[in-house]
């Protein structure tokens, strides 16, 4: 899957087998073909990362300029000061990822196996929100979750509001400007990233395996647990990564749907870069965020076993 091309960076996956050098004439072809990709990687990934790391170790200000002073203290200060936001970002991203998985799995399953001739239509509907901008979609949730809206009315009737208050996800009786609203926004915005990989792996599943399971007296649930679920694991891993990684760094949802105690790390970085103009702190936070995600992803992919995925 192409989605994994970028991912291997973090996973330290097995290096590609050496190209066949038996024939002299074809020796350089693989490298030549690698060139565009490597150039892309160099220009849009390595160079910016080098700049970012460098900036995080500089001191100075915008008028007098910055100088590299190897000031590692910035990291200590930044992480101590914004520890809460870091932890919160990962917790929100984790909850949103689990929620998206719980919603997307049945959805992808239904599209892959039960949709019949509506399959393409349903797929388009999954992608349709992408036809408008991320910002507009998030702003729409302000309207959906507003206090006198239908959604909140139904939630009140079903006592979901009291439940959420008990879970500490709603600080007051209003749904908007709360951790719940932020997580809802994250779940919604990244849902297609979960659905599509799941669909892709479920769709490839050979139905004869399920028939065979039935022939061997497996109950439907056992067939699902022993056949469908393991075979869809590549989709689950891809989907969870594609949801978790952007969700952890997101700053729009918490800005538009959250309150002052739902600030995520993306918002802090945005503020440090654009408003405070404290580039070293902003860079240090970015590098830390990136490193943390790489480690988390590496551990996750290692635990989940990537070999079957790539």
């Amino acid at each position: 899957m192409t989605a994994f091309a970028g991912l291997e960076r973090g996973s330290q996956g097995p290096a590609q087998p050496p190209p066949d050098s038996g024939k002299t004439r074809g020796r350089w072809t693989p490298y030549f073909l690698l060139l565009p990709g490597m150039a892309w990687l160099a220009v849009f990934f390595i160079v910016p990362v080098v700049f970012l790391v460098s900036m995080s170790l500089q001191t100075g200000n915008i008028v007098d300029g910055y100088e590299l002073t190897w000031n590692f203290g910035t990291y200590g200060d930044a992480i101590t000061q914004y520890w809460d936001q870091f932890v919160r970002s990962f917790i929100y991203a984790l909850i949103a990822t689990v929620a998206a998985l719980l919603i997307a799995y049945p959805l992808a399953y239904a599209i892959a196996f039960k949709a019949g001739r509506f399959k393409n239509l349903l797929l388009v509907m999954v992608i349709a929100p992408f036809f408008t901008s991320f910002l507009i979609r998030t702003l729409a949730w302000q309207v959906i979750l507003q206090s006198d809206g239908i959604v909140v009315g139904i939630m009140e009737k079903l006592h979901i509001i009291s439940l959420l208050q008990w879970l500490q996800l709603l600080p007051t009786d209003q749904v908007i400007f709360s951790p719940f609203a932020v997580i809802t926004g994250l779940t919604y915005n990244f849902l297609p990233f979960m659905t599509l990989p799941l669909y892709a792996s479920l769709e490839r599943l050979d139905p004869r395996l399920l028939e065979a399971g039935g022939d061997l007296y497996a109950r439907p649930f056992t067939s699902f647990r022993k056949i469908t679920l393991p075979l869809s694991m590549p989709g689950v891993v891809a989907g969870t990564l594609l949801t978790f990684i952007p969700a952890a760094g997101d700053y729009i949802n918490s800005h538009l749907l959250g309150n002052t105690s739902t600030t995520m790390i993306g918002q802090v970085i945005d503020g440090q870069f654009l408003r405070v103009l404290d580039y070293p702190t902003a860079s240090a936070l970015s590098v830390t965020l990136m490193a943390t995600i790489v480690i988390l992803v590496a551990v996750y992919v290692w635990r989940a076993g990537t070999e079957e995925l790539v």
């Binding site: 350089w28 080098v50 460098s54 500089q58 400007f177």
Partner: protein, 406 residues
Amino acid sequence: MNNAPTQNPESHEPVISPPWLRGLTRRRVLGGAAAVGGMAVLSACGTKGQKAQGGQTQAADKSDTEKIVNWSNWPEYIDVDDKTQKHPSLELFTKETGIKCNYTEDVNDNDQFFAKIQPLLAGGQDTGRDTFCVTDWMASRLIRLGWVQEIDQANIPNLKNLDPTLRDVQFDPGRKYSIPWQSGFTGIGYNPKSTGGKKIETIDQLLTDPSLKGKVTLLTEMRDTVGLVMVDMGIDPANFTDDDFDAAIAKIQKSVDAGQIASFTGNDYGKGLSSGDIAACMAWTGDVVQLQADNPNLGYTLPEKGHMAWSDNFQIPNMAQHKKNAELLINFYYDPKPAAMAEDYVNYISPVVGAKEVLLKEDPEVADNPLIFPSDAVRAKSHVFRALSQEEETAYNAKFQALIGA
């Protein structure tokens, strides 16, 4: 297809240097890049000071040969004809002067706009804009950085119509580098439906009234939020110390900690205020006037103790290609008639003396709105945040940002 790159392996094109690539693996390439990119490169990317160092700041003025002017402004900040979606006052400008204005609404936020023009101006390059409008403090920063040119007031005879109270501002005495486009006040907006019919009249009430808990928003603009709180505490925002600033921050922090404040917003508080999810908030006059058109119940208070006033200012960036045309544009809008055309739609406060008289004839409802043409008594209560040095600005912004990101 003669130009297609030849990928014939036999040609052994020397595109890749062999020793470096022998036994190429991704890990080795990344490792190599990391090593190369390590110390040496890290040290090489120190950033020069961005203040203009006396280099060239003026481009050859093409005004007389190219009859155009490029103006960047905030969204919904000029008159619009509802039918044609054109800007009647700009069409009048073209008719009178023969200069075509390329009007772009790409200033959404002072800080983001700064980020957009920063690399160009720091590098001494043309931004493609002949003039843009930014708020006082950003205008002040751009002057401090030496990124804007002195405006030739000889080209702007109508500047005599500038409101006398705006003529000598602290950051730009004599208005050499900045000329106001619109002004506005920052006060308190509230939705009586959510406050239980109660009027919200003081900042203290906004920050502490338990009936508003979790339904109050403040502004991400530091000078508006901190300034209003200072005025409420009896501190003059035009003349305060670090301790005064810290005291104001502490007061807001207490309110944030108590869960009183739902969030800090840009001008996206409008929807929440209309729907009632925001019961009360710090708000800008023009926004509330526009919201009141759809929702007449919304209330607006300029606190008894005083409110904040600000302006968005025309500035001419370094290397602008049509400086004189930009000055003619400014001159045009300092004529009361075009000023009134814009004002009738924008509903902020016009800095042009005489615009009210024109509007009294054409649209008395707007002319009589005290939020658009405030009385002298109200104007006397307006405060301006003092100009900050670079160190102060960084330190205060950091404290304010920590408050917002609690």
